[in-house]
Amino acid sequence: MSVAIEGRDLKRYYEVKGEGFFAKPATLKAVDGASFALESGETLAIVGESGCGKSTLARLATMIEKPTAGNIFISGDDPHAHGGADIPRLRQDVQIIFQNPYGSLNPRKKVGTILEEPVVINRKVSAAERRQLAETMLSKVGLRPEHYDRYPHMFSGGQRQRIAIARALMLKPKVLIADEPVSALDISIQAQVLNILMDLQEEMDLALVFISHDLSVVRRIADQIMVMYLGKVVEQGDAKPIFENPCHPYTQALLGATPAVDPKLRRERVKLTGELPSPLNPPAGCAFHNRCRFAQAECSVTAPDLQMKFGRQVACHFVELAAQA
């Protein structure tokens, strides 16, 4: 077993124009200290609501953006180490699929062209071999070779997502980042796409970073999970214990809010009051304190650090209290 992708204390800040003409630019802490290590064949699920930084993390992992601080390692190599000289090589190992199957495929290109693009750019392979590769990959994701000559608009959402998966795997990457890959799909299609993802992960020994807000899907697929809130990791560890006994109040609320069909899986709904604060202006101290039912004076002053508690990492001052609930 080898670590395919590792993040060490990753931070990504953006400068955002303040309100008003002369206002000072504000700093948006999209990701504020996230660490993880993922081995081949394993799945890490990153869970959180909008603005929690999960998509920014995906951009960092795919080397589209450079972390403000911290390091990312692809199979042990830091892509940003030698002035970015290794990026083209390492990019071939990390590929991504997106949420919206309608936006992620170039509408003016045939499926074959879309699939072959990564190969054309990175490898010296003859046209016939490329086509062979593309057709093999099409059949792997459950499409037919004759789909090679069609345009994306002729496919349904589920089929497009399969094409996106096929494109991502054309270079046989080691890491696949899936940014909400099934959120836009219908339930029956969602199941098909998840099966394909799981099958291909096993076949190609992929490290899968699965970003989602849908906990029922995450519960199904994840080995490790990382719960984020406004750029910070609040709970992180093996998936099973976290689902069985969430310790951070936010994880509890998230699990409780996810509607479940099976009454046995339904948790007592912890009602979260209030809105999600803007990531531009997060509350002082623990970012979650103004929606938290265990919050005390200390929470609004100091931000809790991640500590090892109950067999997972949790960032909460009163985790003992919350874990009892």
Partner: protein, 325 residues
Amino acid sequence: MSLLEIRNLSVEFQTVGGIFRAVDGVDLSLKETDLLSIVGESGSGKSVSMLALMGLLPWTANVTADKLEFEGRDLLTISSRERRKIIGKDISMIFQEPMSSLNPCFTVGFQIGETLQHHLGLDRKARKKRCIELLDLVGIPAPEERLKAYPHQLSGGMSQRIMIAMAIACNPKLLIADEPSTALDVTIQAQIIDLLVDLQNEKGMALVLITHDMGVVAETAKQVVVMYAGQQVEQQEVDALFATPRHPYTHALLNALPERSLHLDRLPTIEGVVPGAGDRPPGCLFSPRCEFTQDDCNQSVPSLQQTDIGAFRCFHPIEYTGHGE
């Protein structure tokens, strides 16, 4: 007398590829305080059927029905002026995208006031009072200040609350909620659904909840209609539907839920795709994908049978033994 009576509602669209039947023979009947949920995948006609009821479809749509009555008044034959008196007042609707449902040029107060002025003819002072009342009702803190806010200053959850306030402004007898929580974050989603159900109980109105999220259905609805390819395939009480789905499509759909297959290696799927304009099977629309298909399924179209265990459109409904019903 029931509040809403729909018999054999069909909607056809004129498209490039010919005529597309989006809704096919839908029957519904709704009493004053019913909470009905319509579930189905995208393209199943669940939204289109309700938009047809509201008269909100584009000109390419052709709406036919044997009966489309609201409080004994035929919505198909009344003049559009009469219809406008009912729509927005006695029947109102909220949509999936709260951010684009509000006009960005006007304040929240103005937009709610518009409805009040148009349908109830309230004067300025009465309007303002009612607006504040409404915002309070939908759980918006500091309603007086919020009236002056523009839509871009509100979050998604807030906007959806405003939309709900607008929809219930005239005390409608029927509220149609078209995927009201789909575009929102999980914790906000739960708040909105709870709010809708509370309002329904409080106001004694009928609520039609259109959704694709089985979890939401299981936790809120009483009666459930399942739609497939424009047809109503099953209608049952919510608990019975989840325990003993009679139509093979409902059965397969429920099995495809990730949380129902935690013990399995692969998620059960429904093979194939929803039939489109060009390839509608001659018999039952689900027959090409159904695991229980027999000869008669391929030859004739089953009709919606009303039985004491629910209504379903199937020749060979799934039988259950050992259930105490």
